[in-house]
């Protein structure tokens, strides 16, 4: 995509330019129109622009979504080698915005931090420091986030070989400086540092929590992540567009289907490919079933942590039943690899609709059982009500989305604020709670499962019995196998797609959908080759986990365990 020379901008971009004109930033910010309104700025002006974007009454970009580093070493026509691409959302205006901070060549890649404007930027900046080597002066804790401390170099730079490893030993596992301080001076003998994890049953994955305890209360905490950093973004740069799909399944592996849908939507938008109605509905139905599976595991695991083991078995059974449906569709239970750019890998089995209807019958029974066992259970209420509470303002400042944000009373759901597929045609509600505590999140998730069932019911009702599931654009979708065997043209398409991958036009795109635990965004850059030049995921649970160390301060250690469960942190997506 080339720069827009003529000032024919979209309405939001035009409005931002108009507002900017009256500020001292007008000269220094370039407004462009790509798939989103895009501002370009150099690092020194970035904090002032950030503050203005957040506070200007006609901008109010209050939700910091993502910061993606980009290395333009092998990409032609760019102004500088390194960029930091920030995505923002304005809740009052319901608009997305992209800001590109262009780092001048030949400098030491410095960007002033914006953690003071959006606290959510904290971990995103640390990630860019780790993976790209950007420096953020003023950042409160600029250390490596994903890679281990013995790592050398910045792996997402284009001149870093994908397979270059560095080995960590026990001595490299660094604790934060404050945790080593024994605090003897205070003469307060009940102070101690507790290390939970990296391998601990309550972390459900490998996450390391270091907490300073005063008696039983947490006075300071820090989470260390990256234990499952398996280089998704680097791997996607070395594969073709379709080969990335199995990797996306392993991001949020508890609801794998949703990730694949989010990713291929970004690619389809870049290609301008439309998926037939039947294909879209299959995606919707299985995505909503995946959302139910996700919430089942999240609630079940959370209840196990607070001692209610039975409910885990109650909630696991619908999951097994949904696995049966997914296995019938694509042959895999967990990591589905079912979607393809332009459609799906195969059509669903003939008994798809009866199977869905049987699930719609059986799942509510399990939910009702859990509801009766848990919702008014006094122990559960004591453990969850009032613990891990987040205020609405904090939730927005920390960049929370999904059930976490809705439990604070903000009805932000991408399926409603920016309807994709057929979500605007279905009759469903966004569950919202007001307390923002663990119990509110539990209630929101329970109700979301019921709403998902409602969506599936409507989708199954309008599900066409016959019809294509794939686009017929053979530049994108593999032609049918019998055509490949009998027809030269199809054979050529097949060969080109398998050997070279889909040719996605050069450009960039941020596409976002409602993942199981929040806004799941994919920022894809293509240079016209068969694979992504850069693919950045906006992982919904990443800000949740970043907020964890702030949420639990002041509470007891047992509340922290209950809170960790309701954050719905999936390590594959958190660490990528």
């Amino acid at each position: 995509m080339s720069a827009v020379d003529t000032p024919s901008l979209s309405a939001p971009a035009e409005r931002i330019r108009g507002r900017l004109a009256s500020t001292p930033l007008a000269e220094k910010v370039e407004v462009r129109d790509l798939d989103l309104p895009t501002l370009e700025v150099s690092p020194p002006e970035w904090p002032a622009l950030a503050k203005w974007l957040r506070d200007d009454p006609e901008c109010r970009y209050d939700l910091f979504l993502d910061l993606a580093g980009v290395d333009n070493l092998k990409r032609r026509g760019q102004k500088t080698r390194f960029e930091a691409v920030v995505h923002l959302h304005s809740l009052p205006r319901n608009e997305h915005l992209r800001v590109k901070v262009l780092l001048p060549d030949g400098t030491n890649l410095t960007i002033p931090t914006v953690t003071g404007v959006w606290p959510a930027a904290n971990w995103f900046e640390r990630e860019a420091f780790d993976l790209f080597g950007y420096d953020f002066p003023g950042h409160p804790n600029l250390r490596r986030l994903l890679c281990h401390d013995a790592f050398v170099g910045n792996p997402l730079r284009k001149d870093y070989a994908p397979g270059q490893r560095w080995f960590a030993t026990d001595a490299d596992m660094k604790m934060p400086a404050w945790a080593l301080d024994t605090d003897v001076k205070a003469g307060h003998f009940e102070t101690q540092t507790l290390s939970i994890g990296p391998s601990h049953p309550a972390t459900h994955g490998i996450v390391h929590l270091i907490a300073r305890l005063d008696g039983e209360r947490i006075s300071r905490a820090e989470t260390q992540i990256g234990y499952l950093h398996r280089c998704f973004e680097k791997m996607s740069e070395t594969h073709t567009w379709n080969q990335v799909i199995p990797f996306t399944d392993r991001l949020n592996y508890v609801s794998a289907m949703i990730n694949g849908v989010g990713y291929v939507r970004a690619v389809e938008k870049m290609l301008g490919v439309e998926v037939p109605e039947r294909g879209v509905l299959i995606r919707t139905i299985l995505s909503e079933f995946s959302r139910i599976m996700d919430h089942c595991v999240d609630i079940g695991a959370n209840l196990v942590d607070i001692g209610a083991l039975t409910n885990f078995w109650y909630l696991y059974q619908p999951r097994e039943n949904i696995y049966d449906l997914i296995e019938a569709c694509c042959g895999a239970r967990l990591t589905v690899s079912y979607v393809r750019v332009g459609g799906l890998a195969f059509d669903v089995p003939d008994d798809f609709v009866p199977r869905c209807r049987a699930l719609l019958e059986s799942i509510p029974k399990f939910l009702d059982d859990v509801d009766r066992l848990v919702t008014n259970n006094r122990i559960v209420r004591n453990r969850l009500q009032g613990t891990g509470a987040v205020t609405k303002e904090d939730a927005i400042a920390w960049g929370l989305t999904g059930p976490m944000l809705r439990a604070c009373g903000v009805p932000y759901d991408v399926r409603r604020t920016r309807p994709y597929d057929f979500y605007d045609k279905f009759d469903w509600d966004i569950p919202v709670a007001s307390d923002g505590d663990n119990f509110a999140r539990y209630l929101v998730r329970m109700e979301e499962m019921r709403q998902s069932l409602k969506i599936i019911r409507q989708a199954v009702d309008i599900f066409p019995e016959k019809g294509p599931v794939n686009s017929s654009d053979w530049h994108v979708v593999l032609p049918p196998k019998d055509a490949v065997y009998h027809d030269m043209e199809s054979l050529i398409y097949h060969f080109k797609l398998i050997m070279e991958g889909i040719k996605v036009p050069a450009g960039e795109r941020y596409e976002w959908i409602e993942g199981a635990n929040g806004e799941l965004g994919f920022y894809a850059i293509s240079t016209g080759g068969g694979g992504p030049y850069r693919l950045k995921v906006r992982p919904p649970c990443f800000p949740n986990m970043a907020a964890f160390e702030k949420i639990i301060v002041g509470g007891t250690i047992s509340d922290a365990i209950a809170t960790l469960g309701t954050l719905n942190v999936i390590a594959g997506e958190l660490d990528r």
Binding site: H148, F167, G205, R230, V254, L334, T335, A571
Partner: protein
């Protein structure tokens, strides 16, 4: 093991002698390994997607407890079977080694899934290319993730191995540990 049934003189309550009974003749090692193979206490080192399938295996539908590997422990001190379920990264490697070292002997390791077995399709800068770089492995279970049936088959294979008294070969992890800079 050979079980034999033999008729003895009638039981005399005064002397305590006699009475009909069944008895076993076996070697002590065989008896012990038979008992061990059917009372495995697994520690799930569940890092990623495979951990979710491990949950399925211990849940009601597949119910691993039918085969005597029921008591899932999260403390390495109480476990004798380490199931590494999921990708192990270089950042986790020291953690995994420490957990393995903390387990009492005798101990066994199942590598669940291709990531744990070989790094899987993550041939990348932060991923350990198989946990046998770090610890010896008894049974490798392929699959991404393995189905519950596959993992259960892996556990049966381990039980067979324990009963046969076979020892695991520690060649790769020992060689790599020697080669690796301290």
């Amino acid at each position: 093991m050979v079980a034999k049934s033999q008729t003895l003189p009638a039981y005399d309550p005064k002397t305590g002698a006699g009475g009909s009974t069944d008895f076993l003749t076996t070697r002590l090692e065989t008896m012990v390994s038979w008992a061990r193979s059917n009372s495995l206490w697994p520690l799930p080192f569940a890092t990623a997607c495979c951990g979710i399938e491990f949950m399925s295996v211990v849940s009601s539908h597949y119910d691993l407890s039918r085969f005597g590997a029921e008591v899932v422990r999260f403390s390495p001190r109480q476990a004798d079977l380490l199931i590494v379920a999921g990708t192990v990264t270089d950042k986790q490697a020291p953690v995994l080694r420490k957990i393995y070292d903390q387990m009492p002997e005798p101990k066994w390791v199942i590598s669940m899934g291709v990531c744990a077995s070989s790094g899987g399709f993550y041939r990348a800068y932060h991923v350990t290319q198989g946990i046998d770089e770090i610890i010896p492995v008894d049974v490798y279970v392929p699959g991404c993730p393995p189905t519950p049936e596959e993992l259960m088959y892996g556990i049966f294979e381990l039980q067979r191995k324990i009963r046969s008294g076979e020892k695991s070969r520690d060649s790769r992890s020992a060689r790599l540990a020697a080669e690796r800079p301290a």
